[in-house]
Symmetry: C2
Subunit: 468 residues, 2 copies
């Protein structure tokens, strides 16, 4: 397509594209936006080296003039985006890119892969962390442990990052720990236990190696007959040296039954401080039910189901042309579809979040140039069932899209991961529990401004297939 | 764990680990093994640079002696593996690694991520390609188009590679095309059409840009009222210049209904040679049903459902200790579990495939030192229901695991991707259609040799939890 625009001598034509998605994953009511840092990294490094140019030349499709243009390629446009960790909803622009069509088109696939992937995993992690938070009393932390089941290495490393944004407190992925300063946590595998003459020897060697972070895997042979007994022996030996066993881990069997028994045996031995880590194909639903059944689990190691977002392994973010320069004028563009749900919102837009007394009341997708007088009541209406209206008063308004690149220059300071996590938490605090429910949530209002709605109707009705 | 072995002064102890999986994905009857080239790439590059060492030092967990050992790290062991594209079954070792425990342990996570991911996608691709092959007459090629929905970039690039192994004929992923010499294929997106004053202008510009590979996307406005009419106009203009329109693409609406109509309209215009490409959330089941309903589709663009293996987004490959040196002797090791299905097969093993008259009869997991006299009948028995026995005669036998690394040296010539694909095809040809059925397949026999079975029973019964 870049080559086509180049050949048609249209590559300098300015356009606006939106990234948005249509359906929340996993039956959730929202998405935790993530992946922007990777988009920035990509824009920063995006160029064509001689190796790439040689490959493209070899395809026999492109002119030398085009390849010369690629050689000099650098992104010169504007990017607005919601900060990572923002709570977002279907159809809201998460990224808005404006610039020459050739450049803006090129970004599509990689940018979508970054945003789709990291937002998906951050959202899944938030669901799992919320499940762990249903426990009475102290909430057990969730640790991301999915590397070996991730869809290759990027998925594991950026997935661990996204999982931290979604509230996980650590990862077993050391590369992610190094890249993003995420706390790394881990225990032994079963092979560690097997490789020693006895379980007790294996436990002692581990306690000796990591005296301040000893978590013993107690299910290699038999949790109750062997594992917990040996763990208690080691815990007592550690006490004699003035140290404390951090925890035991159960990775198979019935986690509710075993954790309760293990808790009792530990408590009877005076080891009330020893934690119980559970892992084994956990997801938000299993964690919920284990808690309901009184499982005595103090932290959760979650692998496959988190790192792949197993029940919904893709977020369907798309990248759509919404405006283009025509006769020197930025003109809204619409994509019509048989499926009404797939008709795009035309024009260069912004997203506003209205809050009343610290509670999110509705989001509004509006045209970029629109202004709202917050001293006056505002009437919002449902963009499909327009008879559904509501008036808000005394509201505050936040604009979700912030400038990231202006004329090819990075103007945004990338926040650190802990700040991104805090942004998720303060964002979630605006919404009612009903909207945050993990299944069949109350649907949050995302309306169109009157001006945008009218523009959309006009473009829809102006368009005639026989004239296309 | 490496550090633990180092501190226990056991890091030179030799061990054997197996990679295997327990359950086929997507209800399939087998897996197409893939990912070995990436394992080789990893072993070749695996080392610790100063940046990594600084990070690890900063964790405050490791001694300087250990970090010095990492600085000098290189893999010195043996790797045996099934070649990429081999048809494999649950519990069969796909990779067998032997070497010092410290080295062998380190490989676990990355190696599993490579093998699990690429085998998963190759298998899913094979299912989809098989579905396309149910069409009467000429089989429509399948093109991988999932980049924007992949779980980040590695997943897209190595996923495109795995999809080619699974029988896809091309990819829309240009980076994968460059890295692995996969044919790149693509069409315009909707934004191309939108960005021109009319659909016809857009089609003409594209035909002008790619005269030998013009595929026109005809569903931006209305397939029947607009898209196909404009495509015919352009096809006629191309004919007048002595060129041929390659195809039209439909990306929404009912693909059976639309493709049949479009076929009729094209044929009525004398354009019987123009192909019809379909895309839009396709998977093996939708393709099957579209074919059953007589859809006139000549090639299939498959995205999300393929690149994520949507219905089963992880293959559960594991890495288990099966033998270790004790008193200078390589000794089999077993991992016991409450779940009988999770008890490992102990010992250093090989996998044999027995064929009779070009038909696969059974696979046998045997101890590495075992030999079989192929001039004599061989009795095989089910490792769980041991009364189920079968005798094979006049068989040929193939050993599936081949040497890849010996004493840290690569001894295997990596085949090119087309040869890997041919290996899949010749491998599949050994199996009956019942075993290859996409749902509820006939279960292929994977038995244990008598010696392995007896070893396993002995180790299971010798083991006592109270002695562990």
């Amino acid at each position: 397509m870049m080559y086509g625009y180049f050949r048609a001598n249209r590559h300098h034509q300015r356009v606006v594209f939106d990234v948005f998605y249509r359906n929340n994953p996993s039956g959730n009511g929202y998405v935790v936006a993530a992946g922007l840092e990777q988009v920035v990294w990509y824009l920063h490094h995006l160029s064509f080296g001689e190796e790439e140019l040689t490959y493209l030349r070899g395809l026999g499709l492109f002119s030398e003039e085009f390849l010369d243009m690629l050689r000099d390629f650098r992104f010169s446009g504007d990017v607005y985006a919601v900060p990572e960790g923002t709570i977002v909803f279907p159809n809201e622009p998460l990224v808005r890119v404006e610039g020459p069509i050739c450049e803006v088109q090129l970004l599509e696939s990689a940018m979508l892969a970054f945003i789709n992937h990291q937002s998906l995993i951050a959202t899944k992690a938030q669901r799992i962390v919320d499940a762990a938070a249903t426990a009475p009393g102290k909430v057990g932390p969730v640790i991301e442990m999915g590397l070996r089941r991730a869809q290759n290495i990027d998925a594991s490393v950026f997935g661990a990052r996204a999982a931290f944004i979604g509230g996980c407190q650590g990862t077993s992925n050391v590369q992610a720990g190094q890249c993003f300063d995420i706390p790394v946590m881990g225990t032994m595998g079963h092979s560690w236990i097997q490789s020693f003459p006895s379980e007790l020897d294996a436990f002692r060697a581990y306690a000796d190696t990591f005296p301040d972070a000893t978590v013993l895997l107690i299910d290699t042979y038999d949790v109750l007959k062997s594992g917990i007994q040996n763990a208690i022996t080691v815990a007592k030996e550690m006490e004699a040296q003035g140290r404390k066993l951090l925890g035991v881990r159960i990775d198979s069997g019935d986690l509710a039954y075993l954790s309760k028994h293990v808790r009792r045996v530990l408590d009877d031995a005076g080891l009330t401080y020893v934690g119980i880590v559970a892992s084994s194909d956990l997801d938000e639903w299993t964690i919920r039910d284990l808690i309901i059944q009184g499982a005595a689990i103090t932290s959760w190691g979650v692998g496959t189901k988190l790192i792949t977002s197993y029940d919904t392994p893709a977020l369907g973010g798309v990248y759509k042309l919404v405006a283009q320069e025509r006769d020197g004028q930025m003109t809204p563009s619409i994509k019509v579809s048989e499926n009404a749900n797939k008709v795009t919102n035309p024009g260069k837009k912004k997203v506003l979040r209205f809050t009343v007394n610290g509670h999110a009341s509705a989001d509004l997708i509006a045209l970029d140039h629109e202004t709202f007088d917050i001293s006056k009541p505002l009437e919002l209406f449902d963009p499909v069932h327009t008879y559904k209206r509501k008036v808000i008063r005394n509201y505050e308004v936040e604009e979700l899209l912030v400038p990231v690149y202006l004329e090819g220059k990075l103007v945004y300071e990338l926040p650190n991961l802990k700040d991104i996590r805090r942004h998720v938490e303060s964002g979630l605090a605006l919404f009612s529990k009903e909207i945050l429910r993990p299944i069949q949530p109350h649907i949050y209002h995302v309306d169109l401004s009157k001006a945008l709605w009218e523009l959309k109707q006009r473009l829809l009705h102006e368009w005639r297939p026989d004239e296309a």
